[in-house]
C-alpha cells in the first residue's frame, strides 16, 4: 500500500484541481470575507491533514505498546514530524487570513490559543524523545505521552472553542460551515482539497518512514 502509486497520483490530482477550482469556482458572496472565502480550500485542509497525521501517530503508538516493534515507534514519530509541518502551515496561513478579515494576525481567539498550546504539546513530544537516550525507554515513554496528548489536542481545538465565543465558524453565535455554504458550491471543492492534502501528508510521512527504515538497515549491516 505504502509503495503503491495510485493514491499518490490521486493526491496530486486532487490538490491541483482544488487549486484551479478553488480560484475560479463560484463562492458565496459575503461581506468582510469577500474573495478570501476561497482560503477555506487552502487553510482548513492543513488542519485536517494535521489531525489525521496525529491520529496515525496515536494509532502507531498504541500498536507500539502492544507489540514493542521498533518500526511502529518510527512511524509514530514521523507522523508527528509531518503533522507539525502542517500545523505551522495552518498557523501561518491562518494569521495571514486573520490579519485581513479580523484585523489582527493573532486576535485573542480561543481556537488560536488552543492551537498554540497544542503545537507546544507536540513540540514537547519531540523534545521528550530527544531527551531520552535509551531506545526502548524513549519509545515507550513517548508513546504514552502521545496517547495523552491526542485527546487534549482534540479538546483544545474542537471542544473548548465551541463552548465559548470564537471568531471561527461554528462557535458562540457564529454560523457554521453549512450555513455559509448556501449554494453547495463550496463543498465538492473543499472535500477534494481536504482529501488531497491529507493524502499528501500521509505520503510525505511514509517517505520519511521508509527512509528511516533504509537508514536502520544500513546501520545494522555496518
Amino acid at each position: 500500500m505504502m509503495r503503491k502509486n495510485w493514491w499518490k497520483i490521486l493526491a496530486a490530482v486532487m490538490v491541483s484541481s482544488s487549486v484551479v477550482a478553488g480560484f475560479m469556482g463560484p463562492v458565496p458572496v459575503l461581506p468582510i470575507l469577500n474573495e478570501t472565502i476561497r482560503n477555506i480550500y487552502f487553510h482548513v485542509p492543513m488542519w485536517f491533514s494535521m489531525i489525521v497525521l496525529y491520529l496515525i501517530s496515536v494509532i502507531f503508538s498504541v500498536k507500539y505498546l502492544n507489540s514493542g516493534e521498533r518500526n511502529h515507534d518510527i512511524m509514530a514519530v514521523e507522523a508527528v514530524n509531518v503533522g507539525i509541518l502542517f500545523c505551522f502551515l495552518g498557523l501561518l496561513t491562518g494569521m495571514q487570513w486573520a490579519n485581513i478579515t479580523w484585523g489582527d494576525p493573532w486576535p485573542n481567539d480561543p481556537k488560536l490559543n488552543g492551537s498554540a498550546i497544542a503545537t507546544l504539546m507536540y513540540l514537547a513530544y519531540l523534545v521528550l524523545r530527544n531527551a531520552l537516550e535509551e531506545e526502548q525507554k524513549r519509545a515507550k515513554i513517548s508513546a504514552v505521552y502521545n496517547i495523552f496528548a491526542f485527546p487534549i489536542m482534540i479538546v483544545l481545538l474542537y471542544i473548548l472553542p465551541k463552548l465559548t465565543d470564537s471568531l471561527h465558524p461554528g462557535s458562540g453565535g457564529n454560523s457554521t460551515f453549512s450555513d455559509i455554504d448556501m449554494d453547495h458550491n463550496i463543498r465538492p471543492i473543499f472535500y477534494t482539497a481536504v482529501i488531497g492534502w491529507i493524502l499528501t501528508g500521509i505520503w510525505i510521512c511514509t517517505l520519511r518512514y521508509r527512509l528511516r527504515l533504509v537508514e536502520n538497515n544500513r546501520n545494522k549491516l555496518d
Binding site: 496530486a12 484551479v20 477550482a21 475560479m24 449554494d183 458550491n185 521508509r210 533504509v214
Partner: protein
Amino acid sequence: MYYMKTLMLTFLSIICLLRMAVAQPQMAQIEMATGLRSSGKIWVVVLVVLTLIIGVFLYLFSIDRKIRKLENHK
C-alpha cells in the same frame, strides 16, 4: 508515465469541478473579483500556482523513486 497520468487526470478533474460552476447572481453592494476574472488574467495566477503545486508533486515522486531504489538495493 506517472507524470502523464497525473497531468491527464488533473485536467479531467478540473473540468469536472468547473462544470459544477454555474453563474451566480451577484449582490451589487459586495465587491468580488468579477472584473478581474472576466478580464481573463486571473487564469495566469492560477497557472502559476498550479505550476508550483505540480512541480512540488513531481519532486515528491522523484524522492519516492529514489527511496525505492535504496530499498531495492540491499
